[in-house]
Amino acid sequence: MVVDNSSAMAGAPLLSVEDVSKSFTIHLRGGVRLPVVANVTFDVSAGECLVLGGPSGIGKSSILRMIFGNYAVDAGRILVRDRSTGDVADLASGDPRLVLGLRRNHIGYVSQFLRAIPRVSALDVVAEPLLARGVERKVASNRAAAMLERLNLPSALFNLPPATFSGGEKQRVNIARGFMIDYSILLLDEPTASLDETNRDVVVTMIREKLTAGTAILGIFHDVPVREAVATKIINVAAFSTREAA
């Protein structure tokens, strides 16, 4: 649903989260309600890297998942602005086709763990977002290979399914996939958690390149050097949390 198509003002946020709240109702446990976050409100503009801070279990990953449409929201709006047209869509309204369209063109997500598909090679996992946009298979494969090389994944692994890879190797496949396309919004959930220093530095460089290109990044980084290298602003999610402090 298009909320408005007022002029594409320079500097208007690409992502606006307005009064979003989320809870889980666990029917198998007598309908107990687990509140997660409430009144989550922030903007992310082009070239900004907003970092969600605060201790584990406070709802940081849940916020990313809501913005990707993977979790439903109880209330509030998640407005995604089209960089070229200025059109704004409310992802929180939840229409599956709207969410799928936003994912294809606007929102990239690097989750903490790669969900591997049996029999699909690392190269194909990485090339997939390009193929979904109609890029020719050969071109997509070449670009995917270049991205994996940049992340120092041994080329012997390119044609193997990532199921048997180490944690760090899987994570690099996941990062490569998320960085293949120039999404306007990139969601990063601890992308460097299982990487060594060399590869961590590669990822930092890649994040900075995206910011220079005008991507709006929202991320969770427990890794302090990475956070300091990329964050333009940090918000403490504890302010939105409806959970009792542990």
Binding site: N70, Y71, A72, P96, V99, L100, G101, I117, P118
Partner: protein, 258 residues
């Protein structure tokens, strides 16, 4: 993505006397989209699939289909000839048991070629060439073209059934537990093949399965059924990661973690 649905189901109901097979079923399918219908045995999902594909008569409700000429009639308004065209050409139906979708006493090549002949192809050499192409696409050696499906393994039979369905370039495929009868290793291969073909050919698919892992792998949207009714529907990953209905939560909680 095309903005017009290829199929719309509204208030569909199937009754057997007082017994409800399925009721109050409404959803749309868009071109190129895979929709999974999940639920346990007896939830009405196969009844629903059979009603939509006109293999079974509905009791009430609407089923509209986008014809190649852009008309959008209710299937009940179509002539016998038009319905036959849909069944033989524009649609495919992949059964759980390949023997239900194949002719076991004729060769693999004839099983694939038969659908071409049904739409008027008469050039034997051309039919054989296309049959052989399709066997290779589903990873069956072209040298097996003259063998009977009875000599094939379960996985090969299922792949042959898929080739037979796709040779006419259908736009909508119905699948009823397509990997249900296969060993796990064979299942992975068939799923991988289906995933590739569906995306390469931009097929619309309605797949019935009790296996949530299969639904997750193949579908973008999911419909959860219980006792003949839809209890939840939405994006597949959201329904699985953030299920809201008690029954969906139970289903998801019952999956083994890997």
């Amino acid at each position: 993505m095309n903005s017009d649905p290829i199929l719309s189901v509204r208030k569909l109901e199937k009754r057997y006397g007082n017994f409800i097979g399925c009721t109050d079923i409404s959803f749309d399918v868009w071109p190129g989209e895979v929709v999974a219908i999940v639920g346990e045995s007896g939830s009405g999902k196969t009844t629903l699939l059979n009603c939509i594909s006109t293999r079974m008569e509905r009791s009430s409700g609407e089923i509209r289909y986008r014809m190649r000429d852009r008309r959008y009639p209710d299937l009940a308004e179509l002539s016998e000839a038009e319905l036959r065209f849909l069944m033989r050409t524009d649609w495919g139906f992949v059964h759980q048991n390949p023997a239900d979708g194949l002719r076991m006493q004729v060769s693999a090549g004839a099983n694939v070629g038969e659908r071409l002949m049904a739409i008027g192809d008469r050039n034997y050499g051309e039919i054989r060439r296309r049959a052989s192409d399709w066997l290779e696409r589903v990873e069956i050696a072209a040298t097996r073209i003259d063998d009977m499906p009875v000599s094939f393994s379960g996985g090969m039979r299922q792949r042959l059934q898929i080739a037979r369905n796709l040779v006419t370039h259908p736009r909508l495929i119905f699948m009823d537990e397509p990997t249900g009868g296969l060993d796990v290793s064979v299942q992975a291969r068939v799923l991988d093949l289906l995933r590739m073909l569906v995306s390469d050919l931009s097929l619309s698919v309605i797949i019935v399965t009790h296996d949530l892992a299969v639904a997750r792998l193949l579908s973008q949207r999911m419909i959860v059924m219980k006792s003949g009714r839809i209890v939840e529907q939405g994006l597949t990953d959201r329904v699985m990661d953030d299920p809201s209905h008690p029954y969906t939560q139970l289903l998801v909680a019952s999956i083994l973690e890997n």
